[in-house]
Symmetry: C2
Subunit: 189 residues, 2 copies
């Protein structure tokens, strides 16, 4: 795979989440896929109901999400993914993931969903799509080998799918998904 | 279809949402499906960050959900559904649905998702699974005919799938989904 020379579409200070939300709107508008970010779960403690106006939440707390950030449907397939960023330049720390997210991805894989993570190296502005099945291998490795609490950039270059910023959608991740589906069909045949 | 005589599993003052959440936990635990209720979307206005303790949301508002309540993956299929209750005894009012939910279900159907609504008549304690494609017919009808702002119980008895409370899962909706998948396979053949 070659990096395209034109990097004029590199993200302009947007967060990975903003870029993915924008990409999902593009895909939805084009009728290509229906993928949404799940709302942040909130534990509500106190709500006021003022007369003639909307209910106001006066006390609430952020809850740990029990699943991943994004899911939806594309060409009859269930898509499920998590997006994570690091400021590191050499490796992606596994502490960015939580056991319940790993468990959720495993459960989705068992149901034949298409699951992956989108990893961004903020300092390098490089983006990778790593399949959940491969993430699980790195995740389990950390309990077997010492000093392997991360996935090296070299490993991602070899085993993940690098993606490049575009104009619309900004992060064209469905192109990689198309490839995953095609590879899978060939494997079954 | 016959109604089973043993109605000892009829829901005991639980809301439809509670029963579905409980059913989803059962399905998840059994490894049968991964279906979650999406968190309620909240517009956060003010957050306090006290020293040495968790962030507290001090002002926030409920936002209109742009999609449906539940989605997930089952046997490689994308499932998407909304749950609604009425106190009516003769018909299910269409005002329980919003245009953006209808649009979301249409978009999911276009991507070959399995979409439906689960309707409960609270006073009768009867449950129906209505396929989204059929809901769309009733939804569009309200703009064509006068006085048809609802789906009659008789129409649901004829065109929807009645479900009965069980022990575990309380609402065994995947049995209907299995039937939808089977019918669809036969239609394609
Ligand atoms: Mg994330
Ligand atoms: Mg609902």
């Amino acid at each position: 795979k070659k990096r395209p020379k034109d990097i004029s579409f590199s993200n302009r200070g947007m967060s990975l989440e903003d870029d993915l939300n924008d990409s999902n709107i593009t895909y939805l508008t084009q009728g290509r896929a229906v993928i949404h970010k799940k709302p942040t779960p909130i534990q509500i403690v106190q709500v006021d109901y003022p007369k003639r106006s909307a209910a106001v939440i006066k006390e609430a707390y952020f809850k740990q999400a029990s699943t991943t950030d994004y899911n939806g449907v594309y060409r009859g397939y269930y898509l499920d993914f998590e997006a994570k960023e690091t400021k590191n330049k050499q490796s992606f720390p596994l502490k960015n993931f939580h056991q319940h997210q790993i468990d959720h991805m495993s459960a989705c894989l068992n149901q034949k969903g298409i699951c992956f993570v989108i990893l961004r190296f903020a300092s390098l502005n490089r983006l990778f799509l790593l399949e959940a099945a491969d993430l699980l291998v790195y995740w389990n490795r950390q309990y077997q080998e010492k000093e392997k609490k991360s996935i090296s950039l070299k490993e991602l270059e070899k085993n993940a799918h690098e993606m490049y910023y575009n104009f619309s959608p900004r992060i064209p991740y469905l192109e990689v998904v198309d490839q995953l589906i095609e590879d899978d069909v060939h494997n079954i045949e």
